[in-house]
């Protein structure tokens, strides 16, 4: 019984497994398109200083239409805004803000929502009643009103956007997690863990949470899209990142009054927002498609 002759294959590294799992998305055409769009924007954000033809906040020539030549000889591919800043450069630099704060806010929302959902779903009873009540109260506010109240109270800045999004999204995440846990907690392996005296938090985090990851990853992708919209909306309402740094929502808002005769100023940032949201949504669809197979 104790002979060591039988060799045991090496354990696969978790990183390799993750890569293998991610490679599954190749089997979904929709997912690949989504992934392509997202990867495109990530690349743009990383390479922003190299790609942008002009500094984003420098006024060059006001009210230039797309394709006009700059005094220095370069071309304003997407035109300039009312202050003469190059729209293409601002969009390129603006992607950095969105792609920094949207994932960060989503991550924070999950960081808060998951433990709440785990506790509510696994403990049930009073804990569930209290957490669900809090969630219902928050969810009963119109989201926009909630954002305005929060940002107006604590001020407009990147980290405050993260706080506002976390506050508004965590209850929704809690509900999803709670639903998943209510199903998973009745599995026999959970029962087995209970009968060997595991602590509740270990059961929640090690036995239950990993098995809820499929739906949560899909939801996270969708939610990333919503948060991109949210950041855009906040920018449009003037509650986003403080000027003059480029912010897609803010760009639309600032140029709104010129939209009648110079639509390019508002349209291009809108297209940027939509394409990124679309990318996340398609990626989520693809992930769902792949996860339902097999």
């Amino acid at each position: 019984m104790t002979d060591q002759a039988v060799s045991v294959p090496r354990r696969e590294s978790p990183l390799l497994r993750l890569a293998k799992g991610a490679a599954l998305i190749r089997e979904s055409a929709v997912g690949m398109i989504g992934l392509g769009i997202v990867v495109f924007w990530v690349a743009v954000a990383i390479l922003a200083p190299l790609l942008a033809p002009f500094p984003p906040n420098q006024p060059v020539m006001p009210m230039a239409t797309p394709g006009m030549a700059a005094p220095t000889g370069e071309t304003f591919w997407l035109g300039t805004d009312h202050l003469g800043r190059d729209i293409l450069s601002r969009i390129i630099h603006g992607s950095r803000q969105v792609l920094l704060y949207a994932p960060l806010a989503t991550f924070c929302a999950y960081l808060v929502g998951i433990p709440m959902g785990l506790a509510a779903g696994y403990r049930r009873g009073l804990v569930d009643d209290i957490l669900s009540f809090i969630a219902n109260v928050i969810l009963s506010f119109p989201v926009l009103v909630l954002y305005i109240i929060i940002i107006a109270t604590i001020g407009a800045s990147g980290s405050n956007i993260v706080i506002a999004v976390t506050f508004a999204s965590a209850p929704g995440i809690m509900r999803i997690v709670r639903g998943l846990v209510l199903d998973l907690r009745n599995r026999e392996y959970v029962f087995a863990a209970e009968t060997r005296g595991e602590t509740p938090w270990r059961i929640m985090l090690v036995e239950i949470l990993p098995n809820a990851r499929g739906p949560l990853i899909v939801d996270a992708c969708l939610r990333l899209g919503y948060v991109v919209i949210t950041i855009g909306t906040l920018g449009f309402l003037g509650l986003g990142l403080p000027p003059p740094d480029p912010d897609w929502g803010g760009m639309v808002s600032e140029t709104r009054q010129f939209a009648m005769f110079m639509p390019h100023m508002a349209i291009f940032p809108c297209i940027a927002i939509s394409s990124l949201v679309l990318g996340f949504n398609l990626l989520a669809d693809g992930l769902r498609e792949v996860s339902l197979r097999d």
Binding site: M1, P9, E188, A192, R196, E207, P210, N211
Partner: protein, 703 residues
């Protein structure tokens, strides 16, 4: 269909060389190959085989309902002499439900929860025939009476969830019969039901053919049920029929090694773990795309001969002098069954040791708080669910104590109290000399927890799909403090895998890469990780296929013998209990109604409930004669149990008022054999055995 089809008097259904494939990403997967079957009018054919053998696929193909990725790739199906491939979509729609009806396993899934049963039943004639609402109502009501449902008027007006599972299945059968179909397909119609309820449904199915002249195809994994319902049987293995013939031919003179193997796996009344142990079929069912060449059963067959059995083009051969009895085996005439004595997985004699677990008058009540206004006014706000009432028994080391009962009898609650997930309301549970009835699992020491562990029922649920087999076993070892050092833990994991006869590389696998039986083996390894003195096994093999069941049961007994473990075996399968248990505790609605040694419980005198349970178990042996006892009524609710004897509402031997008013006394016909019943000693003594082996003078079931 037209009148010509109705008056057709040839076979109702004929399958000729039917081949069915599923098309997946991995390519074409043949699910059923070369399937032949002829079903005469009023006849019944059983399709029997383990999961994945293609029996349900055949039924779906007959209905022409294979889904998007399935297709008939060869052969024909003739319905009343007409090739079904020539039917148009519209004709098929008329055929389904009108001429061919199907009953599925899960009754609740077949009924619409938002419609009254009457409405759903009336839809059938209203949809297929041009008749009035009143006529449809009358027909539906009559059919409910015909399937022996009490109070059909009430059933007509209620919703599916308001009646019990057994009643639901009767309604589904009634619905199938309403259009007076020529052919009824039953796909495991009783698998989801309790054994006493099943007995009633089986009796009904047996009557269908004569009452309605309906032909039946009965699909089941249970050979005993086939014997009770069918004239002919097709034994299927991995997509092919390996043996077909009349039920008596196949059951008494089986020719194919697989059929023989199946019968060796089921605990028939003659089998016992000491004298006639079960013989599992080694290996496992090949995956459809990994079938071996020639005979698909070859790799698992003891009579496999290279060059003969692995040649392609294996067809059915007829058994001479037995028309209609066909075997798919090249060597069946050469096999000498008389000199074939495979080694079984018996445990041998075991001498029980000292008392390890002693339960004394244990009670577990759940409190229900009623917040309704009526309850506030009457002041009765708290009600009790008496899940366990006065449970007392002892278990010795090396002994197997079986707890038998149907769903809702309190078996699971009892297990929870033992494991410390619930505390007892009253009474004592003495384990290794210490009362643990009030100790929750968090308060128990690692040794205490490790020395009482559990094997669970559902193989697909028992292991965490996110973690490897090795890491799950390692966690248990660390948790119980058996080993501390990382290498020693690794070593111990390997030993445990050896113990349950699994290859060591399984440590790195994830549960989804394992078959059901293999997962259950890991579950057993996990339970034995902390060197337990007692293992509670909650229906450990009931979700497994018959051939795997025998192997896992054998393994469990083997390990029990090695470690002299006490096994608390919770089960509803009386055949299995008779096979492996030393003592049996029969529970009904939280009460112990009878307990004693296995021989005492399985022989008269019985408690009337035990008697009914025994009679309800289907036995796949033509030489066994059973007394038929069908329990009337439903299992009462635990929140509102009957007064007096809890079994009085369904008891066929009820004496009178005394059963409803007084708790039954405990009678001891022999020391240690306890029956809680009002029947007098004389009446108990007059009881006849329920199961009698007819012809053979083999030793009686309980010797």
């Amino acid at each position: 269909m037209d009148s010509q089809a109705k008056s057709f008097d040839g076979p109702v259904l004929e399958c000729r060389d039917l081949c069915i494939s599923y098309f997946t990403r991995a390519g074409e997967i043949p699910a059923v190959i070369d399937f032949n079957m002829t079903l005469e009018q009023g006849g019944s054919i059983g399709l029997v085989g383990e999961s994945g053998c293609g029996k349900s696929t055949v039924a779906m193909a007959i209905m022409r309902y294979l889904g998007g990725n399935g297709a008939i790739v060869g052969g024909q199906v003739f319905y009343k002499g007409r090739d079904m491939a020539t039917f148009s979509e519209e004709e098929l729609r008329q055929l389904r439900g009108n001429e061919i009806a199907m009953v599925y396993q899960e009754p609740m899934a077949s009924l619409n929860p938002s419609m009254t049963l009457g409405r759903q039943l009336m839809e059938v004639p209203l949809c297929h025939e041009n008749i009035s609402e009143e006529e449809a109502y009358k027909r539906a009501r009559q059919m409910l009476a015909d399937v022996n449902l009490p109070d059909p008027d009430r059933i007509m007006s209620v919703y599916p969830h308001q009646i019990s599972g057994g009643q639901q299945q009767r309604v589904v059968i009634a619905m199938a019969l309403l259009s007076n179909p020529s052919l009824l397909l039953l796909d495991e119609p009783t698998t989801a039901l309790d054994v006493t309820v099943e007995a009633g449904i089986i009796e009904l199915i047996g009557q269908i053919a004569e009452k309605f002249n309906t032909s039946m195809v009965y699909i089941s994994h249970n050979l005993g049920l086939i014997l009770e319902t069918c004239d002919r049987v097709n034994v299927m293995y991995s997509g092919v029929v390996v043996e077909s013939g009349t039920v008596t031919e196949v059951f008494d003179h089986m020719r194919h090694p697989y059929t023989k193997g199946l019968f060796g796996c089921i605990p028939l009344p003659g089998a016992s773990k000491t004298a006639r142990p079960l013989v599992p079929i080694r290996g496992q069912l090949p995956l459809p795309h990994q079938r071996p060449p020639g005979c698909y059963f070859g790799p698992r067959c003891d009579f496999f001969q290279k060059g003969v059995c692995d040649r392609e083009g294996l067809g059915m051969t007829s058994v001479p002098n037995e028309p209609g009895h066909d075997v798919r085996c090249r060597r069946w005439q050469e096999i000498d069954w008389d000199s074939y004595h495979p080694e079984g997985v018996g445990a041998g004699e075991m001498e029980p040791g000292e008392v390890v677990l002693s339960i004394d008058d244990m009670k577990k009540y759940y409190e229900l708080t009623d917040n309704s206004i009526a309850a506030l006014i009457s002041g009765k706000r708290v009600r009790y669910v008496k899940a366990n009432e006065s449970i007392s028994f002892d278990a010795r080391s090396c002994q197997t104590v079986a707890i038998v009962g149907e769903s809702g009898c309190g078996k699971s609650t009892f297990a929870k109290v033992l494991m410390g997930l619930e505390t007892a309301t009253d009474g004592k549970v003495v384990f290794n000399g210490k009362d643990i009835s009030q100790e929750e699992v968090q308060k128990r020491t690692p040794e205490q927890i490790g020395s009482m562990q559990m094997v669970f029922q559902n193989p697909f649920d028992t292991l965490n799909p996110s973690h490897t087999v090795g890491s799950q076993l390692a966690r248990v070892i660390r948790k119980f403090g058996v080993e501390k050092n990382k290498d020693r833990i690794e070593q111990r994991v390997m030993e445990l895998l050896d113990l349950v006869k699994l290859p060591r590389e399984f440590a790195r696998r994830r549960p989804r890469q394992l078959s059901g039986g293999q997962k259950q083996r890991v579950g057993i390894a996990r339970a034995f990780a902390g060197n337990p003195t007692t293992v509670v096994a909650d229906e450990p093999v009931s979700a497994l296929d018959v051939s795997v069941q025998a192997a896992v049961t054998g393994l469990l007994m083997d390990i029990q013998k090695t470690y002299r473990t006490t096994l608390i075996f919770i089960s509803h399968d009386l055949s299995l209990v008779r096979y492996l248990a030393d003592r049996v505790v029969v529970m009904y609605l939280g009460h112990i109604v009878e307990q004693g040694t296995t021989d005492e419980v399985f022989a008269p005198p019985y408690h009337p409930y035990t008697e009914a349970l025994l009679s309800a178990v289907p036995i796949a042996d033509t030489s066994v004669e059973k007394t038929r006892i069908i329990l009337e009524g439903n299992l009462p609710s635990v929140t509102n149990p009957p007064s007096g004897c809890v079994f009085n509402t369904r008891c066929p031997r009820k004496i009178g008022e005394i059963c409803e008013t007084q708790d039954p006394p405990v009678v001891e016909p022999t020391p240690g054999h306890q029956i809680a019943c009002h029947l007098s000693r004389e009446e108990l003594a007059r009881m006849k055995p329920v199961i009698v082996m007819a012809e053979e003078a083999s030793p009686p079931a309980a010797e």
